[in-house]
């Protein structure tokens, strides 16, 4: 599309003013000077422009697919393949409306000689889903600037930004261990790493007798090794409508961050041979009490089921950001679901809650779970901007809630923006899995003796309150450290 813009009204006004002044003053120099603005007007009128036909554009999006919240670099290279210099070229890449540009600009202005290229590079924030780029807009001006030609460029290379929850999670089939339980416990048993030497028991296998000890002391002793066991972890995603908020325009919601962290934790835990289950609170699902629930299990099939569930949660959160569910109804549903998660979770399991903790229900949830004696990890993505007074106020309230959670014996991990998620996951589960394995070891006797399946109601001899009292010091010392 070719257009001509009016730029020289001021020049015409100057010509008229100088002419009037020259005539009034009887000054021929001013009259002659009145010609100068007209020269500019004439040069603008002589200016011609045509739609560039030989501009080639190539776009690359790196990395794609990307996990939510990850910066993605978009590079658009425009090359002038014609034999004429383009004196005024302006480009604007078609960034999807739902995506925010984090750094740089998707626009550029330059001159391009024949064969020259210009690269536009900018960074966007990935959000869950797939977003198509529109073709870049291109505007060319002639020497006089008045005439413009606008067109869209066809682009080769990447045309979309793909964001997946499991984008950077390694596939379990490739890297996972086939051995159940890679977790090292404090308890002695069979394994590879030396743990201790104890007195020989009659039923100890002969290959674990310490013959060197027998040679020195004349008594039999048995070598024990670090025992490897598996843990059971239930990942709980707080997907309530209150968490469908963003830190800025085009950023992922807190639910997307939470599901991404849960996805990464799921992959890591399954990769290490643990049993992992998934629960989603705050949405209406097909499970008990409207809670989306996936029984703890291990293996690739469990991973596929869990990933599918988490992806649906993220999709729902992205599609239903403006939900207007009544607050009272949401609060009642959340309480029911929290209690239901408590009922469904095996007694030997630990809970990992992924919540931004923007209000009090997550605090009440962890208090409920801790009251029942379950180990709880709280991983909280920080989406509250601190560059405003109200943001700082909300941030203070959020950290107060985190401190309240920590005071109940929950290991809280504040996932600040910019901190790599693998580091956060590693810190969140390093200590907790060890403790869970100890619980698992200690609880196995109870399970075997009653013949139950690990449910709270059948596996323990005492009440949940009794169990909470049986291990309070251990829990608070090991779990209450926070970051």
């Amino acid at each position: 599309m070719i257009d001509r813009r009016v730029r020289w009204r001021g020049a015409i006004a100057a010509t008229i003013a100088l002419t009037v002044a020259g005539v009034a003053d009887g000054n021929p120099v001013l009259l002659l000077g009145a010609i100068i603005p007209l020269v500019f007007v004439a040069s603008g009128s002589f200016s011609r422009v045509r739609v560039p036909a030989d501009l080639v554009a190539t776009r690359s999006v790196t990395p794609t697919p990307a996990p939510p919240g990850q910066p993605v670099t978009v590079t658009l290279e425009v090359t002038n393949d014609s034999d004429r210099t383009i004196t005024d070229l302006r480009i604007a890449d078609g960034v999807p409306a739902s995506i925010a540009v984090l750094e740089g600009s998707p626009r550029a202005g330059t001159t391009l000689e024949p064969g020259d290229s210009h690269t536009v590079e900018y960074v966007v924030v990935a959000r869950h889903g797939e977003y198509d780029f529109e073709p870049p807009q291109c505007r060319v001006r002639g020497l006089g600037v008045s005439a413009t030609a606008t067109t869209t460029l066809s682009v080769s290379g990447d045309r979309a930004l793909v964001c997946r929850l499991a984008a950077d999670a390694p596939p379990i089939e490739e890297d996972g261990s086939t051995r159940v339980g890679k977790l090292t416990t404090d308890d002695p048993g069979t394994g590879l790493s030396f743990h201790s030497i104890r007195e020989y028991h009659r039923d100890d296998p002969a290959d674990r007798i310490d013959w060197r000890h027998y040679a020195k002391r004349g008594t039999l002793a048995t070598v024990t090794y670090d025992r490897h066991v598996s843990a059971t972890v239930v990942l709980v995603v707080d997907a309530r409508p209150a968490n469908r908020v963003v830190a800025g325009r085009g950023r992922p919601t807190a639910v997307e961050y939470g599901t991404y962290a849960a996805t990464r934790a799921l992959s890591d835990l399954l990769d290490h041979g643990h049993d992992v289950g998934v629960a989603v609170i705050g949405t209406d699902g097909p499970g008990p009490a409207g809670c989306r629930w996936l029984e703890p299990a291990s293996g690739p099939a469990q991973r596929t089921r869990a990933l599918d569930l988490l992806r649906r949660v993220a999709d729902d959160a992205a599609a239903d950001r403006d939900s207007r569910t009544p607050r009272a109804a949401v609060g009642g549903r959340t309480k029911r679901q929290v209690r239901k998660v408590l009922e469904l979770t095996p007694t030997t399991a630990q809970l990992a809650l992924f919540s931004p903790v923007l209000d009090d229900p997550p605090v009440a949830a962890v208090e409920t779970w801790r009251g029942a004696g379950l180990p709880v990890v709280l991983l909280s993505p920080d989406i509250v901007p601190s560059n405003t007074v109200s943001g700082q106020y909300e941030q203070t309230r959020r950290r107060t809630r985190l401190a309240r959670c920590q005071a109940t014996g929950v290991r809280t991990v504040d996932w600040r923006r910019g901190t790599p998620l693998p580091v956060v996951i590693e810190r969140a589960f390093a200590v907790d899995a060890r403790l869970s394995s100890r619980r698992s070891t200690g609880a196995s006797a109870g399970i075997s003796s009653t013949g139950g399946e690990g449910r709270r109601d059948t596996s323990w001899n005492g009440s949940p309150v009794d169990r909470a009292g049986s291990n309070p010091v251990d829990g608070s010392q090991r779990w209450g450290g926070g970051e």
Binding site: R7, G10, A11, A14, A17, L18, T19, A21, G22, D25, G26, N27, P28, V29, L30, L31, L32, G33, A34, I35, I36, P37, L38, V39, F40, V41, A42, S43, S45, F46, T87, D88, L89, R90, A92, G104, S105, R107, A108, G109, T110, T111, V120, R139, L143, V145
Partner: protein, 482 residues
């Protein structure tokens, strides 16, 4: 904040959102500065640029700072407007009436102000705010002048009364003056006790005791004031009855009563009253100023501070005129200068800035490109001002005006289309080179025509020039039409 005042290199002072790209603005600025320098030499004022530069720059900084919400920034803004802004306005409005070269100076001031406004991203809204701010500052200054004058009169009257009291020699007059001072001091101290935050600054555990003491003190002060007035009335009644002569006939009693108007007794009492009044007034003022920190309150307070501050030199100027009348011409001239600058300058500033705002409102000046338009207008005015001088300077002024407009609006268009982040310097410099080439070509053409006119059409005078211009214009308009 920097040590010397608010920083100017922040987006709110040197506007960034709608400002033209930097390379284009630099080109326009260099053109304006070069032309103003040349014009200064041409009109015989080589110091024109270094004189106008700081005045105009600080005036523009004042307008730019008005966008801020901070108290210090607003005080500095209004102070700059009422000083350098008024000086700039007086140069623009008054200089053309002094000499023809004044038109050039006025145009140069406008050009510098325009380019400064382009850097500071001052548009129609900014001009309107500045006009309103100058009105408020001016009104505040006049109100402060009235209040200060009234306070000066009160102090003068009080001083006269006190000195007359201390000069009394008769016992009756001494007693009367003393009782008046006691009653006044007691009343003032009681009033200031109400104003001072004595209870608030007392530790919480001692507040009941302090409140009891304050109540007792207030009661005693009330009794003292009422008692003094009562005694005064009683003394007057005795005087009417002729009893006072009996009392004063006793030498010791007469001496005692006369000594009540002694400076040793009067001045400490007056000092206590004055200190109490001052402390109470300061407390009330601080309380009112800090009652709420809304933006509007901050803005109003800043204006009031500047108005009070500037009313002092205005009062001083008036005092010089009054005191110097019939004595010496020097103080009168100084006083006149102060009164004219502070009394008429804000009005001139209001005319200039308000005229710009009205121009924007009427569509005569583009709202987004107000600065470049003012700069170009200023250079055209400067060209008219130096119209009788070297033709090359006139042509340079006109070409510079068009270049400034072209370059600045090109930069504005870039900002509008691409924003501030992309690097467009190469594009801007290319366009600037082309525009300068066109300007040089235009100047060469009209210089050639001027040589032609001065040579072949010299006898034709203005008519010959008009013929040449008409020919040139037709020549140029021919392609424009197509």
């Amino acid at each position: 904040m920097s040590l010397a005042g608010p920083r100017l290199d922040r987006p709110s002072a040197i506007g960034d959102e709608g400002r033209a790209r930097a390379a284009s603005l630099w080109l326009a600025s260099l053109i304006v500065v070069a032309i103003v320098g040349v014009v200064g030499f041409e009109i015989g004022e080589p110091s024109l640029l270094p004189t106008l530069g700081p005045i105009v720059g600080l005036a523009v900084a004042g307008v730019g700072l008005l966008e801020r919400d901070g108290f210090v920034s607003l005080v500095v803004a209004h102070a700059l407007l009422m000083t350098f802004g008024t000086a700039f306005a007086l140069i623009v409005l008054a200089a053309p009436f002094v000499a023809r070269a004044g038109i050039a100076a006025s145009g140069c001031a406008l050009a510098l102000a325009g380019i400064g406004a382009a850097w500071a991203d001052i548009g129609g809204d900014g001009l309107g705010t500045a006009a309103a701010g100058s009105v408020i500052s001016y009104a505040s200054m006049l109100c402060s002048l009235v209040v200060l004058g009234f306070l000066t009169a009160v102090v003068y009257f009080g001083w006269a009364v006190l000195t007359s009291i201390t000069g009394f020699s008769t016992p009756v007059a001494s007693v009367t003056g003393f009782l008046l001072i006691v009653a006044g001091t007691a009343g003032v101290v009681r009033l200031s006790m109400r104003w001072l935050p004595i209870r608030q600054v007392t530790p919480r555990d001692r507040r009941p005791a302090i409140e009891r003491r304050l109540t007792a003190a207030r009661r005693r002060l009330l009794y003292t004031a009422v008692g003094s007035i009562g005694v005064l009335i009683g003394f007057g009644a005795l005087g009417l009855a002729g009893v006072d002569t009996t009392v004063t006939s006793v030498p010791v009693l007469a001496w005692l009563l006369s000594s009540l108007s002694s400076p040793l007794l009067v001045w400490p009492l007056v000092a206590v009253g004055a200190a109490s009044l001052l402390a109470g007034a300061v407390a009330v003022l601080l309380r009112r100023l800090t009652r709420d920190d809304a933006a509007q309150t901050t803005r109003r307070t800043a204006v009031a501070v500047v108005g009070v501050g500037l009313s002092l030199p205005l009062l001083f100027g008036l005092a010089l005129i009054i005191a110097g009348t019939g004595v010496a011409i020097g103080p009168i001239l100084l006083g006149l200068g102060l009164v004219v600058a502070l009394g008429l300058g804000p009005i001139a500033f209001l005319l200039v800035v308000g005229g710009g705002a009205v121009g924007v409102g009427l569509g005569l000046l583009p709202a987004r490109a107000t600065g470049p338009a003012v700069a170009a207008t200023g250079l055209v005015v400067a060209a008219i001002g130096v119209g009788r001088a070297n033709p090359l300077v006139v042509f340079a002024c006109i070409a510079g005006a068009i270049l400034v407009w072209d370059s600045a609006t090109f930069g504005l268009g870039l900002t509008a289309e691409l924003g501030h982040l992309p690097d467009t310097r190469r594009l801007e410099l290319f366009h600037g080179t082309v525009a300068v080439a066109v300007a040089i070509g235009a100047v060469v053409i009209v210089t050639g025509l001027e040589v032609l006119r001065a040579g072949f059409f010299a006898g034709g005078g203005t008519a010959g020039g008009a013929v040449v211009v008409a020919l040139g214009a037709l020549l140029l308009l021919f392609p424009v039409r197509g």
